[in-house]
């Protein structure tokens, strides 16, 4: 991937991205203001959250929802919204000081 401090001579022209699949290197987790937390007791492994997550950040193992890829989860809350049994809660990254 192009380095962030690359000069204009070093990058592909026209804003083209010529190395495929480099979304993996773009860590949208840094955008997050709230973090999803799953209650495994409530979860029925319907995997709707996996379908709806816009950043492919639901961690699934053996058809079971096991958590979140926090390097990429941007904290949008779609998973919490879509979960049919309210197993996901969005928690503020930083609690406001009292």
């Amino acid at each position: 991937m192009v380095k962030l401090d690359a000069g204009w001579r070093e990058i592909p022209i026209g804003g083209k991205i010529v190395d495929a699949g480099n979304a993996r290197e773009y860590e949208t987790g840094s955008w997050r203001a709230t973090t999803p937390v799953v209650d495994q007791e409530k979860c029925i492994n319907c995997l709707l959250c996996w379908v709806f997550c816009p950043d492919s950040s639901i961690d699934v193992n053996d058809e079971e929802m096991v958590g979140f890829h926090l390097r990429f989860c941007k904290g949008c809350g779609i998973c919490a919204e879509i979960c049919p049994v309210d197993a996901i809660e969005m928690v503020a990254e930083t609690e406001p000081e009292e």
Binding site: V2, L4, A6, G7, W8, I11, P12, I13, G14, G15, K16, I17, V18, A20
Partner: protein, 393 residues
């Protein structure tokens, strides 16, 4: 073998396109489209070209389809005019920013409103900062020759910028003149095969076009476009030299007529230069040292070369067939004034906005410009910086 034919500018351009045989032409098929595309679509229907002709629902879509086809790896051409170009606006910038080497003929016609369909340069002058190379042709021959050279310029791997080839609406687009049409094989040989860069259809080397490009990279990409324009200044004369070798007609950044020993110079684009030449001749016969400079390349603006050509003139009159409301004068005047100042040319320079919306420009009007210049040269005084030639007071 080359042949001579009586053709208007649009037919000559369409004939050039037939010989170039582009992979894709996308165009909006009704007004303000030109007969260039109509004639070319007949070639497609008759199987004379291999071109994929895409009829779209607007000029905006026409340019969008051209950009897509170019990204997919095709040699792409189109044509438009006036408000059609205005409707393309957003996409015109994107074509240049994506570095799509599209060649587009723009038949120069006035922008509405009030509604007008006749010649002036407000359409393409409006896009002068869009990042396209801009060539202005005087007559059907130059329209044909520029279209062919434009392909080579656009696709040069140090350039990769879209090119607009302009000529005057109706005056050139619809008037028959003698045109030397070159042998089709020779034209194909001159333009050469198309090499796609980062084609979307090359599935082994996937590429993304048009991603978000914020404050962290946008400026670098703009800087690249500036560099490509600088390269274009090298490539345009190279292509012209090769064109001359193939076909014998000479092209440069601009054309000079009796300019060498002239004291008074007129600068004007496109078809008006033809009328101006005869005025130069008649004033020369009266002993006036007058000459003409007709720019062909407006983007990249050959500032230093123009300054050099006008270095020893006493007075320069620019004729602008479009205005830049609220600016110092028309676009050609403003840029040329800056060039003369920066390269230390002492000539007095004045502007004449003329021919808007197709208003006729007579030899008498052009003569009046030279008379003004003679007075300026004599008195050293500019009475009026911008004059509206032929407007009713």
């Amino acid at each position: 073998m080359s042949r001579f034919e009586a053709m208007d500018g649009n037919t000559a351009t369409a004939e050039g396109m037939r010989q170039i045989n582009p992979d894709v032409v996308a165009a909006y098929p009704i007004t303000p489209q030109t007969s260039t595309v109509q004639t070319f679509s007949q070639f497609v229907a008759d199987g004379e070209v291999d071109t994929e002709f895409i009829r779209v629902e607007s000029e905006h879509s026409a340019m969008a389809a051209c950009i897509g086809a170019s990204a997919a790896g095709g040699r792409v051409m189109t044509a438009t005019s006036a408000n059609g170009l205005a409707l393309m606006w957003e996409m015109v910038y994107i074509a240049a920013s994506n570095r799509a080497p599209i060649v587009m003929t723009v038949v120069n016609r006035a922008l509405s409103g009030p509604i007008n369909i006749h010649c002036d340069h407000s359409d393409s002058m409006g896009t002068r900062d869009a990042g396209w190379i801009q060539l202005f042709g005087e007559n059907p021959q130059e329209a044909y020759d520029n279209a062919i050279q434009a392909v080579r310029i656009a696709e040069h791997e140090d350039v990769l910028l879209p090119v607009m080839s302009m000529y005057d609406g109706f005056i050139t687009s619809h008037s028959l003149e003698r045109v030397q049409i070159e042998d089709g094989e020779a034209v194909r040989d001159f333009v050469g095969p198309f090499t796609a860069h980062d084609s979307l259809l090359d599935v082994d080397n996937p590429v993304t076009y048009g991603p978000l490009d914020f404050y962290d990279f946008y400026m670098e990409h703009k800087r690249q476009q500036v560099e490509a324009m600088k390269y274009a200044k090298r490539v345009i004369p190279e292509v012209a030299a090769d064109f001359e070798k193939h076909f014998g007609r000479r092209y440069g950044f601009f054309d000079e007529y009796r300019l060498d020993d002239a004291e008074l110079a007129l600068v004007v684009l496109s078809s008006t230069a033809g009328t101006a030449r005869s005025v130069v001749d008649s004033l020369r016969a009266q002993g006036l040292k007058v000459g003409l400079l007709k720019p062909r390349v407006f983007r990249p603006f050959p500032a230093e070369e123009l300054a050099d050509a006008l270095r020893d003139k006493t007075a320069v009159g620019v004729m602008d067939r479009s205005d830049s409301f609220g600016a110092l004068g028309g676009p050609l005047f403003v840029e040329l004034s800056a060039a003369l100042k920066i390269w230390g040319v002492p000539a007095k320079i004045v502007d004449y906005v003329f021919g808007l919306g197709g208003r006729d420009t007579t030899p008498a009007q052009i003569e009046s410009v030279f008379r003004d210049l003679a007075e300026i040269a004599e008195t050293g005084e500019i009475k009026q910086l911008v004059t509206y030639l032929g407007v009713r007071e």
